[in-house]
């Protein structure tokens, strides 16, 4: 053993401030966002552009649509007329409404309803999940078991059953899907938050004597945001597809409200004319592909976001 030297002398040439760490170049939040955006793959960019486009159409629907949402014209199932004055670009539907206009209004209705539903489901599921993660006692037990039971019923079946009981109105639809979907949000929020709650910094805050509100707002919430944001995208596409499916089945959004799911259903009979007029067969596929394109876009963005925030790399 070497001889002990005096404690007051600092090791030669050592400085804590100069210690080389993982320290990267310092940047503001905006700069960082811009840098990761620039590095985003093509699929993510594609997704973001599509989402922006949909939002644009949904917000400006009344200015973009050539005709009214429920305006009826004399010829049902009019063919596509790509050029010409006072014509129907994508033809008309089974009772003579302009398909293009309904597609545009449909963006507003279908996306709006799905967005509202997802928000409610996050308020319920996210809030309860956070409380359960912090409480970890009887409340957590009751909520978790209740969610287990609710999740034991397939969600589409559960939704169908509840719609049968309460009837198909837009409000019922939103509440029913939001409640059913909130079970998934609860599970995720709880499991992510539980991992954060056991962190030493949360313990340190409790030891300091901080109240529950501060711990939730300042210590936990900022750290569970990235997975929750990604989940919001995934839940949105799930809710969006579920509502589209229910409307397609005729028990979701009801006429005359323009909605993509029910538009597919209304024009489905045109499919069999594919051999004679391919555009006729494409009419019901238009709203269907509008749904598909948006979900693909959301999935692409979420995929990239998850990859980026989780630090998850396939190579490791």
């Amino acid at each position: 053993m070497t001889t002990p030297n005096d404690i007051s002398t600092q090791a030669e040439g050592y400085s804590a401030a100069a210690e080389v760490g993982m320290a990267r170049q310092r940047r503001t939040r905006l700069q960082r966002m811009w840098i990761s955006l620039k590095k985003a793959p093509f699929s993510a960019w594609f997704g973001m552009v599509i989402i922006a486009l949909y939002a644009f159409v949904a917000i400006l629907a009344p200015f973009l649509a050539p005709y009214g949402e429920a305006q009826v014209f004399s010829t049902p199932f009019a063919p596509w007329t790509l050029f010409g004055e006072g014509q129907h670009f994508f033809g008309t539907d089974q009772i003579g409404r302009d398909v293009l206009s309904r597609l545009i209004y449909g963006a507003r209705n279908t996306i709006g309803i799905a967005l509202a539903t997802t928000l409610i489901s996050f308020l319920i599921g996210g809030g309860l999940g956070l409380v359960a993660a912090i409480n970890r006692s009887w409340l957590d037990q009751i909520l978790s078991r209740a969610v287990d039971v609710l999740m034991a019923i397939p969600s589409l079946i559960f939704a169908l059953m509840l719609l049968a009981i309460f009837g198909s109105t837009v409000l019922n639809l939103i509440i029913i899907i939001a409640v059913i979907d909130s079970t998934r949000v609860f599970r995720l929020t709880r499991s992510v938050a539980v991992n954060v709650v056991v962190m030493d910094y949360v313990e340190a805050a409790r030891l300091r004597g901080e109240g529950l509100g501060w711990v939730m707002r300042r210590e936990i919430l900022p750290n569970i945001m990235p997975p929750l944001v990604a989940e919001f995208g995934l839940r949105f596409s799930f809710v969006f597809l579920a509502i589209a499916a229910l409307s397609f089945l005729g028990v979701g959004i009801q006429p005359p409200t323009a909605d993509w799911g029910s538009m597919v259903r209304d024009n489905a009979s045109l499919i069999q004319f594919a051999q004679y007029d391919i555009t006729a067969a494409l009419t019901p596929l238009l709203p269907a592909s509008a749904i598909a394109l948006l979900t693909v876009a959301v999935n692409f963005v979420v995929d990239w976001f998850l990859h980026k925030t989780s630090g998850l790399r396939d190579e490791h």
């Binding site: 002990p4 400085s15 401030a17 760490g21 320290a23 962190m199 313990e203 300091r208 004597g209 790399r313």
Partner: protein, 544 residues
């Protein structure tokens, strides 16, 4: 051979020769250098110690010696020649023919590296049988003999168990048997004892060294612990940031290291606080019992007295109850029996019954500074919160105080708006210290605060803590398993074992004989910077 260290000198022909090795690793979406042009030569029967701190690239280099690139890494340049075979040019199947027959590997985490689905003996002989070195029956008989020579209990039947059915120390020895089974020319030991307690580590070290000696196997022993490698290796290579710092024969390296960096590797061991007795007891733990949930008790009648302005070190191995003691003091785990007396008054058992002043006066610093700071808050927010919370400081007054605190921990203003991810390990721990100081506490509980840090950084933190103690008369309750750290910082020592206090006293009393049995075992198991230490210990224990 272990009795005659001199014979571990020159050995046979060159077995492994690596020249100018360069390895890249992929992270943050790009390739980084991990190993930057390292040479390595190993002769038959030689044991090389490969030492370095975290991130030095020692494990990557060790695996590269097998011609294996870890997932996410690629060997970019250089030559690897194993007994006339060019491992960089060799095909996968050629390399597979060598792995597990002529080159074997012992991993750090035995618990994770054994397949949970198969019996231990099947895994021990898998490579030997798979490479047609021995028949299954021969290999199994040989494995049982290896188990016996590695001092494993029930050597004839232990192999019939599954990995989760035996202890960590036993698993690590079985993994050594697995490596030895095909009688390889070279074994790579990758931090094989890092996850073990010191008393278990001794047994494993003895077993590994004897068997390597017996079969005259060449080995590369990778570790960050110089005292451990001193027992195992003929010569030592020091790595830092993927480059070689120096290489020398073991005794020479210990006696006269050439580079400053090498000297710094045992800097903590050079630190020793002169002990001072204290009589003004600031906090006393009085006959405390505690348990988690309704399960078995983890603390039995624990009593500890902590004098003001002094450091009391609590030492013990995993499961000794030292961290639980800290949780009881802070009120996170209310005790079943007994009292915590702080500044003359009995503290409420439960955290939420304590008042703000009581909370302020007891602060805590954690082992992992990474998880002790909210990654979304800046340094100013982290240090500023206790100032605001306890002392009602806001605005410019608060900012000034933050700068003062940063200067106290030898950092400066420029750190104020950094996030924890932009700090080094030592800087993070310093910020945690500043956060504790901001409360102006009477006592700080330090839970293994240096054990996740590299040696030179550890030294800096320990010096800082000692200086702060001098300046502000702070009391530390210092929980650690590292005797070198205890030497460096403590006035008094408490030894704990299985939830009980074995003894408490001044540092000089505890560290000098006579010792109670457990203290004796614990202290004697701590590796010393002396290549003969293990031999001496084995001889002493054999006599006793």
């Amino acid at each position: 051979m272990s009795t005659d260290p001199e014979s571990r000198g020159t050995k046979g022909d060159i077995l492994l020769e690596m020249r100018d090795i360069e390895i890249d690793g992929f992270s943050d979406e790009r390739w980084h250098d991990i190993i930057k042009g390292v040479d390595l030569t190993l002769r038959r029967g030689e044991v090389m110690g490969l030492i370095g701190e975290s991130g030095a690239g020692k494990s990557t280099l060790g695996k590269a010696a097998m011609g294996f690139a870890q997932p996410g890494c690629r060997i970019k340049g250089g030559t690897i020649n194993f007994d006339g075979i060019d491992l960089r040019a060799a095909s996968e199947s050629q390399k597979r023919g060598l792995w597990g027959s002529r080159i074997a590997y012992v991993a750090q985490s035995a618990a994770a590296s054994f397949n949970p689905a198969h019996r231990l003996i099947e895994q021990t002989v898998e490579a030997t049988v798979g490479h047609d070195i021995q028949t299954e029956a021969e290999a199994k008989a040989d494995a049982r003999e290896l188990y016996a020579s590695l001092q494993l209990p029930d050597p004839d039947t232990i192999g019939d168990r599954y990995p989760h059915q035996v202890s960590g120390g036993q698993l690590q020895r079985i993994m050594t048997a697995m490596a030895m089974s095909p009688r390889p020319d070279l074994i790579i030991f990758d931090e094989p004892t890092t996850a073990l307690d010191v008393t278990t580590q001794v047994e494993v070290l003895v077993a590994m060294r004897d068997i390597v000696d017996r079969f005259n196997t060449a080995a590369i022993y990778i570790t960050h612990d110089l005292a451990v490698v001193a027992q195992m290796a003929d010569f030592i290579k020091v790595l830092r940031y993927g480059e070689e710092v120096e290489q020398a024969e073991t005794r020479k390296m210990l006696a006269e290291p050439e580079q400053d960096y090498t000297k710094s590797l045992w800097s903590v061991r050079a630190l020793e606080k002169p002990e001072v007795k204290g009589n003004d007891i600031v906090l006393s733990i009085d006959g405390v019992d505690a348990a988690y949930g309704n399960s078995v008790k983890v603390l039995h009648d624990v009593s500890i007295n902590i004098p003001r302005g002094r450091t009391v070190a609590v030492v013990g191995e995993s499961g000794s109850g030292k961290s639980t003691t800290a949780r009881v003091i802070t009120g996170l785990l209310p005790q079943l029996k007994g009292d915590i007396v702080f500044n003359g008054e009995v503290l409420p058992k439960v955290l939420k019954d304590r008042n703000k002043d009581q909370l302020r006066r007891i602060q805590m610093i954690y082992q992992m500074a990474d998880t002790a700071m909210n990654p979304r808050q800046t340094v100013a927010e982290i240090i500023g919160r206790p100032l605001d919370f306890y002392h009602g400081m806001t605005g410019a007054k608060r900012d000034n105080r933050i700068v003062e605190l940063l200067e106290m921990i030898e950092l400066d203003e420029s750190f104020m708006d950094r996030l924890p991810s932009e700090l080094s390990g030592g800087q993070k721990q310093r910020i945690c210290i500043a956060r504790a100081l901001a409360a102006e506490p009477d006592i700080i509980i330090c839970d293994e605060v240096t054990s996740a840090l590299d040696q030179i950084v550890q030294e800096g933190i320990l010096r800082l803590l000692l200086r702060l103690q001098k300046e502000f008369n702070i009391t530390y309750l210092f929980i650690t398993h590292d005797i070198a750290v205890v030497q460096a910082i403590s006035d008094e020592i408490v030894v704990m074992f299985q939830g009980e206090v074995v003894e408490q006293g001044l540092k000089s009393e505890i560290l000098s004989p006579p010792h109670p049995d457990y203290t004796q075992l614990l202290l004697s198991s701590v590796p010393e910077m002396d290549p003969d230490w293990l031999d001496r210990l084995v001889a002493e224990r054999a006599e006793a």
